[in-house]
């Protein structure tokens, strides 16, 4: 177990290094990072001073070491637009994004898992059709379009819920539904498939034939085994939610990181974009590490394998 965790941590560090290399070279594929990182109206003297300050006149490996060093200490420089520290800006927006992503994921789990369970237990039934339809729609409806439809219906026509901002608990409802539909669809498909498969295994038949009540068969055997693939997907889903929040937060003017990305990209604030890319990757890497460790705790095959 300890060895497994240590090797997973090692892998995570490797992935983080990979992210730094990638972000570093991305700004350089255009050939002129100084032009990207400075305001357009910068004078030649300012450009030269900036290049000297960042060490852009030095060889690439040295540039990378300096970049990695400052990134790892949380120093990404100042945002071009806000003229304040990029990391501070991100941390300020973080709670709103965590709130929205958690709400979306919670909604997805609360609807998808029971529905997948009932559908998988009774293949061909009405609930199974509902589960399969939701699984398909979750894959096929773009969340940014769903967000617009929800606004047209619930904010404009019915005037039930607010369509922008983060003022009251009602504000989170529409964005959470829009963001949650896709993970909901995937979780339904996964739960249904897992239950369908586990129902036919020998150990479930044994559990039934030794007289275990249905409720206990579900709690002890089916649910526990179905939870394994679900946990591994949840970590991936969170990364997806971070990406999806770019649209949803922009549409609903939700003051989170996704909104900050869209803003930074539209004004070409690449210091900020760079900082967000490294920061979000770090979050996703940590979450994946966490789910893998959790996974090992739940599944003895990995612990001892």
């Amino acid at each position: 177990m300890q060895r497994y965790i240590v090797s997973r941590i090692g892998q995570s560090i490797l992935v983080l290094l990979g992210v730094l290399v990638l972000v570093f070279f991305m700004l350089r594929i255009t050939g002129n990072p100084a032009a990207l990182l400075l305001p357009k109206e910068a004078s030649p003297e300012q450009v030269a001073a900036f290049k000297a300050k960042l060490g852009l006149d030095r060889p690439l490996p040295i540039q990378f070491l300096r970049f990695a060093q400052s990134a790892l200490t949380g120093d990404f420089g100042n945002s071009l637009r806000y003229r304040t520290d990029a990391l501070d800006l991100i941390l300020e927006r973080l709670p709103a994004t965590v709130e929205l992503a958690s709400a979306a994921l919670l909604l997805a789990i609360l609807i998808a898992v029971p529905l997948g369970l009932v559908g998988g237990s009774n293949p061909g039934s009405l609930w199974d059709s509902v589960a399969r339809t939701l699984g398909l729609l979750g894959q096929s409806i773009p969340n940014f379009w769903l967000a617009l439809l929800l606004i047209i219906l619930f904010a404009v026509k019915l005037n039930w819920l607010p369509s922008f901002g983060r003022d009251s608990w009602q504000s989170v409802v529409l964005p959470a539904v829009a963001l949650g539909l896709a993970p909901m669809g995937q979780l339904v498909r996964l739960t249904r498939a897992a239950v369908l498969e586990i129902r036919g295994t020998d150990y479930v038949r044994t559990a039934y034939s030794k007289g275990l009540p249905t409720r206990l068969v579900y709690v002890r055997h089916i649910l526990r085994n179905a939870a394994i693939p679900l946990i591994s997907v949840l970590g991936i889903q969170f990364g997806y939610l971070l990406g999806g929040s770019i649209y949803i937060e922009t549409i609903f003017s939700w003051p989170g990181i996704g909104n900050l990305v869209a803003e930074a990209v539209s004004v070409r604030d690449f210091t900020l974009v760079q900082a967000i890319a490294v920061f979000s990757s770090l979050v996703v890497i940590l979450l994946n590490l966490l789910t893998d460790i959790l996974y090992a705790l739940v599944d003895p095959r990995i612990r001892y394998g």
């Binding site: 990979g18 990638l22 398909l136 894959q139 606004i151 990406g243 649209y247 979000s280």
Partner: protein
Amino acid sequence: MASETLSETVPGIAPATPVDESPFQQQLRFFWRALRRDRSGMIGLGLFLLIVLTAIFAPQIAPHDPLEQNLRVAKTPPAWTAEGSWEYPLGTDNLGRDLFSRIVYGSRVSMLVGFFGVLIAAGIGLSVGLVSGYLGGRPDNLIMTVVNILLALPYLLFVVFIAALLGRSLLNVILIFGITDSPIFVRIARGEVLRLREAEYVQAAHSLGSRTGRILLRHILPNLIGPLITVATFEMSAMIFYEAGLGFLGLSVPPSVPSWGNMLSVGRKYLTTQPWIATFPGVAIMVTALAMNLLGDWLRDTLDPRTRKR
């Protein structure tokens, strides 16, 4: 081959295939039978063909020039409402451009990005995955480490990042998706190679003295095509999604090009007063994704012998 076993074991299916059919014809016959038994797969294929034909024959189908502006008819609602007219079946946008014609032409951008994006991704993924899986050892470890790093990233964020750096053009969008999506294909191809490398017929070819290149091309590649096509269908659907998303953020093809994402981004500004401008392009995206997902589900069930029974 497979169709013979089917007709022998399943009662009610037409008697054995004529002997003079080529293996390819037998394959086609098998697919057609499997498709006819699966209603949702049939719907998926039908819709998909419809969209492809729309993209090809856009100039013949669209009643108006998709770029033609006419401010006098701007913001006309759809034909079935009181103020609408059949001159503009789905209404017009803020500049008086016909929404139906723009959606018809928009299918071209989506299909081009989806098709060529997947082609590039599958091409890179297949070559890297084949080599990586067959060589094994240190090169394989290195390649898979890089692939796992790429797959662990918040994908959309990086796509947005690169798109913003490179600027708006169709070629850029295709290249971005083609390259960033290739790790998925590397993983699929490598996994299959690892499985097939140990297969008896590959071992036999090896002991008969076939060279590596020949084994890869003649024995392993043909068996890879099934899983690859399935993944390609799902990935094409995902790319069409992502392209629309980039367009929505103003990062895909230039604003003058009619694309579903660009249309949504315009429609969003008129959400409260002219909701139809944003509604219809979204329907187009949804129908396309639905078609490809139904098709992908069917392909997966049909091509994968492990699930073929269902």
